[in-house]
């Protein structure tokens, strides 16, 4: 067990003595990033609040370097663990500097006066999150992105071993999300600070985390590395996605495919088809796609949006069998859309399909397809 820096043992959390989630087992090493993912109201915040001692645990305990959090005083805990919470700070007439400086609280004297060293640490923390220029600004008058960075600076200058963040990226635009997460990342890797947080953006969770915990229902459904957790069936089940799908490779979501008998066939490759597929999906037009090698980037999107995808094995020339299937489907359609892509030696049969479609008067090229709209 000594191997793990932070762990929970037999932890049950909930409200008013009633366990909401039980048997929570977290094991992470120092400097790792653990992200809790799961649908709204699944109890991510409840778990975080129990770890930070804001909520009394129902059963079990958490340990920082084998020291029990249950047994720790708030004061002891404050030197090891800092938080960034979702709750709004009510404080009026506080400058951002004042807010960050409260992070020095566990280290200052009875009156809370900052020493020279404290001031230096506040300054460094603000620089670290690129918020040095905000120092004298009124905390209530800055943007959400700035506020989140200032609160992170506050947590940093508390010099914790662990930082717990509850949905730190909510309300942030994409640039600020990335900025915040990369600060966390470098903090964890350079300073060995352990990060535990909850995120809504599973695509970001996949990219930043060392460990992922799936929270939904009474027990933790999955805990492991992103490679172990980010499988389509796990994610779809976790969020109860029945309409549409989550694409693991892209970390993106797709809406459900259009229903009905397709009358359109899309010939594409090397990514030329993705925008066509999405366009057709928006127009609620069902379609076939092919012939795509299974390692073609178009395949990732086509497999969830197309009624049927005609495929070939990776790194093989398009074979007779696949071409025949494509021809059969094209015969059923009145419209063939060709999204141009480099046709190499392996795609000789695709050239055949295009020619056949052109002769039948079904062929449209992408630049012309959506022009009239």
């Amino acid at each position: 067990m000594g191997d793990y820096y932070f762990r929970t043992s037999d932890l049950s959390v909930g409200y008013n003595g009633k366990a909401l989630i039980h048997d929570i087992e977290i094991n992470i090493r120092a400097g790792e990033i653990l992200t809790l993912i799961g649908p709204n109201g699944s109890g991510k915040s409840t778990i975080l609040k129990s770890i930070t001692k804001h909520l009394a645990v129902i059963k079990g305990d958490s340990f920082i370097a084998d020291a029990s959090i249950n047994a720790m005083t708030y004061k002891e805990l404050s030197r090891r663990l800092a938080v960034v919470l979702t709750e709004r700070i009510k404080g009026e007439l506080l400058t951002c500097w004042d807010v960050v400086a409260t992070g020095r609280y566990p280290y200052t004297n009875t009156l809370g006066l900052l020493g020279q060293e404290d001031k230096e640490k506040v300054r460094l923390a603000m620089e670290r999150v690129h918020a040095a220029d905000l120092a004298e600004r009124d905390f209530s008058a800055i943007s959400d992105g700035q506020r989140q960075r200032v609160l992170l600076a506050r947590a940093i200058c508390q010099e914790p071993e662990i930082i717990v963040l509850d949905e730190p990226t909510s309300f942030l635009d994409i640039r600020h999300k990335l900025q915040l997460l990369s600060i966390l990342r470098s903090m964890a890797k350079e300073k060995g600070i352990t990060v535990i947080m909850s995120l809504h953006e599973i695509d970001l969770a996949q990219k930043i985390s060392d460990k992922i915990m799936c929270v939904s229902g009474e027990v933790i459904s999955n805990f492991g590395t992103p490679e172990e957790i980010f499988r389509e069936e796990i994610i779809n089940e976790l969020y109860g996605i029945s309409e549409g799908s989550f694409n693991i490779a892209f970390g993106s979501v797709e809406l459900p495919p259009p229903a009905g008998e397709p009358d359109t066939f899309v010939i594409s490759g090397c990514g030329s088809g993705i925008s066509v597929f999405r366009r057709l999906q928006k127009e609620d037009t069902p379609f076939y796609a092919g012939v795509l090698a299974e390692n073609d980037v178009d395949f990732q999107v086509a497999k969830v949006l197309a009624a049927e995808v005609v495929t070939e094995k990776p790194f093989e020339p398009i074979g007779e069998e696949a071409a025949a299937r494509a021809r059969a489907l094209i015969d059923r359609c009145s419209r063939v859309i060709y999204a141009p892509f480099p046709l190499g030696t392996g795609s000789a049969r695709i050239v055949g399909l295009i020619e056949a479609a052109r002769e039948a008067g079904k062929l449209e090229e992408t630049d012309k397809v959506f022009e009239t709209k």
Binding site: L85, L94, T102, Y105
Partner: protein, 345 residues
Amino acid sequence: MSSPKHEKGLARVRYTAVFIGLAAAFAILTVWNINTGSVHISVGNIARIIFLRAGDETEFGIVWKLRLPRIIAAAVLGGGLALSGFLMQTFFGNPIAGPFVLGISSGSKLFVAIVMIVLLRFVNYVTSWMMVLAAFAGALIAMGFVLLAARSIKQMSMLLVAGIMISYICSAITEFLITFAKDSDIVNLHGWSQGRFSGTTWADVRFFVIVVLVCFVLVFLMSKPISAYQMGESYAQSMGVNVKRFRILLILMSSLLAGCVTAFAGPISFVGIAVPHLIKMLLKTAKPILVIPASFLGGGVFCLFCDYIARTAFAPVELSISTVTALFGAPVVIAMLIRRNGAKS
């Protein structure tokens, strides 16, 4: 844009200026208050009376028995009231919380009425100790009800409504007691409930100066957890504050201050809300380590000023102190509410 260093220097200048200004106002008002009244005494005589303890016997009596205790009462109790208001605003995270608004003064009044009307039938006299105890108990009980309401009510406006309701209930019971009271008791109670700094004895002074100053020192020593608490309960806890214990301490201090002031000077309105707000506006910061001493000083200045008006505006008739504090305090509160709403929309 000016550099942060420059702005920090400016802030320091501002803090110093505010404190010097308050101290100057305090000194001027004190001299003014000693100096004015139905009997005119020259400054030279006053100085001799105070510092050399010599002079005309009537004048000596007026200065030592009437004017000085009254000035000390206005200064110290006013400061205590402002401090109590600041603590309640911190506790409820609500800018217009204060002993008067939340029904705490009414609770004190009820218990003082019980002592003055009911208890006096069984004993010959009541000491200031008993009055303070009664007022404090009343303050705590009323505060208890407000806290109970605050547990289930999170909205600021509803909390105030709860406070006002508690205040009505206390007033109703007080009125009920008055119905069965002797005329002399009614006069006493009415005089008390109008709020006044006159009639303060040196025994009173000794008592409340100790209570209020001890509270002030303790509150000042709490300025660090208070600053953490301003960030919200959860953050305060994550900084190592034992929030449960701190909340109890905070409420005890503010009730003790409000109870003590109410016991000696009666319920005085608006000082608790207006002064901390004015001070924060002047300082342009809410840092407790600055706001606590400045509010204490400011409360004294405000009450000295109001008492001066109460004594002199329609001399020889004296106004009750609440009349004057409301007149000057209420507009501040209105201005504050408008500013806040303006800032939000």
